[in-house]
């Protein structure tokens, strides 16, 4: 870190950088959520299934986020664990209208939480119960029941109902995440 950077940091001009992992099954809306959070000039119109992973940046009032937007397809899911070490927070996206694969999401979440790189770190997890606009979507309460989120005792977690196309609920979640990270740093 150069002298200028340090100076900017003290003055609050340069924001602290946080690495976030964005995980979830395929077709749950991870890329769409990240896209919505990006500054409006950087947003893309067409969102295609992610291959492997992509790195995106967005800023909030106090922090600068670097997001690893992972592909959720079955064959790429074993890539996730390679980035667990870098992650300082996790965004886990769930398609709340896909009742059938809720067990798969739960299975992936359990594997994530039991991974040695994650298990003993107190990192915040933000869940997005996405696709709330769909008619047969489950409520965020129901989603947290089905994923047994109440069993997560040693990590701060929060679940938000969201609609990533309109952007509803995203800001609330990111604000919570920012507060958690700030609380951790101090």
């Amino acid at each position: 870190m150069g002298l200028f950077d340090k100076l900017a940091g003290w003055l609050g001009l340069k924001k602290k950088e946080v690495h976030v992992l964005c995980l979830g099954l395929d077709n749950s809306g991870k890329t769409t959520i990240i896209n919505y959070l990006k500054p409006s000039n950087a947003q893309v119109q067409d969102i295609v299934p992610t291959i492997g992973f992509s790195i995106e940046n967005f800023k909030t009032s106090g922090l600068s986020f670097t997001v690893f937007d992972m592909s959720g397809q079955g064959r790429y899911r074993n890539l996730w664990e390679h980035y667990y070490k870098e992650g300082q927070a996790i965004i886990f996206v769930i398609d709340s209208s896909d009742k059938l694969r809720m067990v798969v999401a739960k299975e992936e979440l359990d594997t994530l939480l039991n991974h040695p790189d994650i298990k003993h770190r107190r990192i915040p997890i933000l869940f997005f119960a996405n696709k709330m606009d769909l008619r047969d979507a489950l409520s965020s309460v129901k989603v947290s029941q089905m994923l047994r989120l109440e069993n997560i005792k040693d990590k701060a977690w929060h679940i938000c109902a969201s609609d990533a196309i309109k952007g509803e609920g995203l800001q609330e979640g990111v604000d919570w995440l920012q507060d958690q990270i700030k609380a951790m740093k101090t």
Binding site: N27, R77, D98
Partner: protein, 583 residues
């Protein structure tokens, strides 16, 4: 599903959905998975048999819920999804076989109905019915003519003639009047259906329908024009089909037939090349790579090569309900799923049992493939109409070795050998010291016993006391039972002739009893002719006269007319009368 923590960690399947009241009554041949709307999510198409008489439906499921339902006119025998053209988007058509028709649905709308071409009609039968139309012959002559045709004709009769032959005389006239004006025709029914790629290997290639008919034929249909492109005759009715290859290049059809044989058909042959004879009826047929795995009715699973060489046999703990192929392409896993009658799903790779899954009910249909967005989904319907969806875990690894238990549990149970006490040891010591005296005494006693037994036997023979006749010429058996608590009893005598072929006649039955104690209505009567082998129950009523709780023996004699010594005797010890004696 209630599983222990230990089990859950090793379970290979995630329970995605269980609906016990889905009301799906179907078989594996009527279940298909396809991306019907071209949106990347596979739907489940089920031909529901309903009750078998009504309520036949074509149901389409997306995720955990049903999205549409179409009424079917007849019982579906096969449901398939196949691509019939190269138009974009590549949405497959659904083919439902029922009766002699194949209904094609595109975008879940009725699109086309294919009818099997009618079969050739017996010309003589045609002439006979023509004459009936002109009122030249009466119903009875018609019946006679049709019967003679049925017995010697080489072309079978039409359904109408067969129905006519079943009718009662008074129903014939109206039946003839109703049907005589319509032309006579003979149709066959589709028994099974499969798809065959036309000229490409790809998953999304255009494919032809392959149909097996009750007329013992395999027909291959053109995917666009629905004309019969090839036809192969079989020696029996096909029930299970497995198709591989491409129609234009080379293909192989493995057919399991109702006569318990498996035939292999190749492209250039007009007759089946190889025949595998099973020792019982096939209940499922799956091809794994180049080998055929067939489930048999005797709780066995056999594997053959396509040339008919037997590879292995596995004995199962319960009868097979249905079978399916588990082909997980992304992991290169090919295995055979077998649903058993004890609500278990066994998974076999080669001859090794690699996984056993318990289900909530007996599974009647199995389908493994991509459902929704998940590649390894197993969809099952149960006997009670439930729907079970399981998803293969991403981390599940199937070990190559057999997971079936080794030696039976009974081997580890200790034998129940009784213990010996000091008493036994003392006894053996005494035996060792006095062996000679013991032997002598015992032999003397044995001689005496023999003598007294022989005496008693001779005495019984003289007086014919035994209830089994000793006379070889008249082998008879008698036993008596008493029913009731008194003062009236029912006395039943069961008399049986034991000879092989000779009946016995002229027998009498007489009772001997204390007349002050009992009264019997008929104490002397004739026995009917005894046919060999049958037991004749002969009942009489005995009245107890004493009121002092005295019981006595009643003797029953079976006598032959003309001789005075009884053939057999039974002694009946009457129970004490518990009721008030009749004064």
């Amino acid at each position: 599903m209630a599983e222990g923590g230990e089990n859950e960690a090793h379970a290979k399947w995630l329970d995605a959905h269980y609906d016990p009241v889905a009301n799906l009554f179907t078989f594996s041949s009527c279940v298909a998975l396809a991306d019907l709307q071209g949106d990347g999510e596979n739907k489940l198409v089920v031909g529901d048999l309903g009750t078998g008489l009504y309520n036949m439906k074509l149901k389409v499921y997306k995720g955990t819920s049903m999205v549409s339902e179409h009424t079917l006119i007849d019982l579906p025998t096969g449901v398939l999804a196949f691509l019939m053209d190269t138009n974009e988007p590549r949405t497959p058509a659904v083919a439902v076989a029922s009766g002699p028709y194949i209904y094609i649905y595109k975008n879940l709308r009725p699109y086309f109905k294919f009818t099997l071409p009618p079969l050739e009609v017996n010309s003589v039968e045609q002439d006979v019915w023509n004459q009936v139309k002109e009122d030249k012959i009466d119903p009875l002559t018609l019946k006679e003519m049709l019967e003679s045709l049925r017995d010697k004709g080489d072309v079978p009769l039409s359904v109408r003639s067969l129905r006519y032959l079943m009718l009662e005389p008074h129903e014939m006239e109206p039946f003839v009047n109703l049907h005589k004006l319509q032309p006579i025709k003979r149709q066959t029914v589709i028994a099974c259906m499969a798809t065959l790629n036309k000229n490409m290997v790809d998953e999304d290639a255009v494919s032809c329908l392959v149909i097996g008919t009750e007329n013992m034929e395999i027909c291959i249909l053109d995917p666009e024009a629905f004309t019969i492109q090839a036809k192969v005759n079989l020696p029996s009715v096909p029930v299970f089909l497995d198709v591989s290859g491409q129609f234009d290049v080379e293909f192989r059809i493995i057919v399991a037939c109702r006569n318990g044989n498996i035939y292999v058909i190749r492209r250039d042959l007009k007759r089946p090349r190889h025949c595998i004879e099973l020792n019982c009826q096939p209940v499922g047929l799956v091809r794994v790579n180049k080998n055929i795995v067939v489930g048999c009715g005797k709780e066995t699973l056999h594997s053959y090569t396509q040339k008919g060489k037997k590879l292995w046999t596995v004995y199962l703990p319960a009868p097979i309900m249905t079978m399916g192929l588990m082909d997980h392409k992304s992991r290169g896993l090919q295995a055979v799923l077998v649903a058993l009658g004890n609500s278990e799903i066994h998974l076999y790779r080669d001859k090794n049992l690699i996984n056993v899954t318990k289900t909530q009910d007996v599974v009647t249909s199995l389908c493994f493939g991509k459902y929704g967005r998940e590649d390894g989904t197993l969809i099952m319907t149960t006997k009670g109409g439930g729907l079970i969806i399981k998803i293969l875990k991403r981390t599940a690894i199937f070990e190559g070795k057999d997971t079936s238990p080794g030696p039976p549990l009974a081997q580890s149970i200790k034998l129940n050998v009784p213990k010996k006490t000091k008493l036994y040891v003392d006894q053996t010591l005494r035996e060792r010291e006095n062996a000679v005296a013991m032997h002598r005494t015992f032999q003397t006693d044995l001689c005496r016993l023999r003598l007294s037994a022989a005496r008693a036997y001779a005495k019984a023979l003289e007086t014919s006391l035994a209830p089994v006749s000793a006379d070889l010429a008249q082998p008879l058996k008698l036993n008596a039972t008493v029913q009731g608590i008194g003062p009236s009893f029912k006395l039943t005598l069961n008399v049986q002739n034991m000879s092989a072929t000779r009946p016995v006649i002229d027998l009498l039955i007489s009772f001997l009893y204390d007349e002050s104690l009992y009264s019997i209505k008929r104490s002397f009567f004739k026995v009917p002719m005894l046919v060999p082998g049958l037991i004749y129950p002969i009942e009489t009523f005995v009245q107890c006269l004493s009121d002092r709780g005295i019981s006595d023996t009643i003797k029953v004699f079976v006598l032959r007319v003309g001789t005075c010594s009884p053939l057999l005797t039974a002694h009946v010890n009457m129970p004490v009368s518990e009721g008030l004696a009749v004064g």
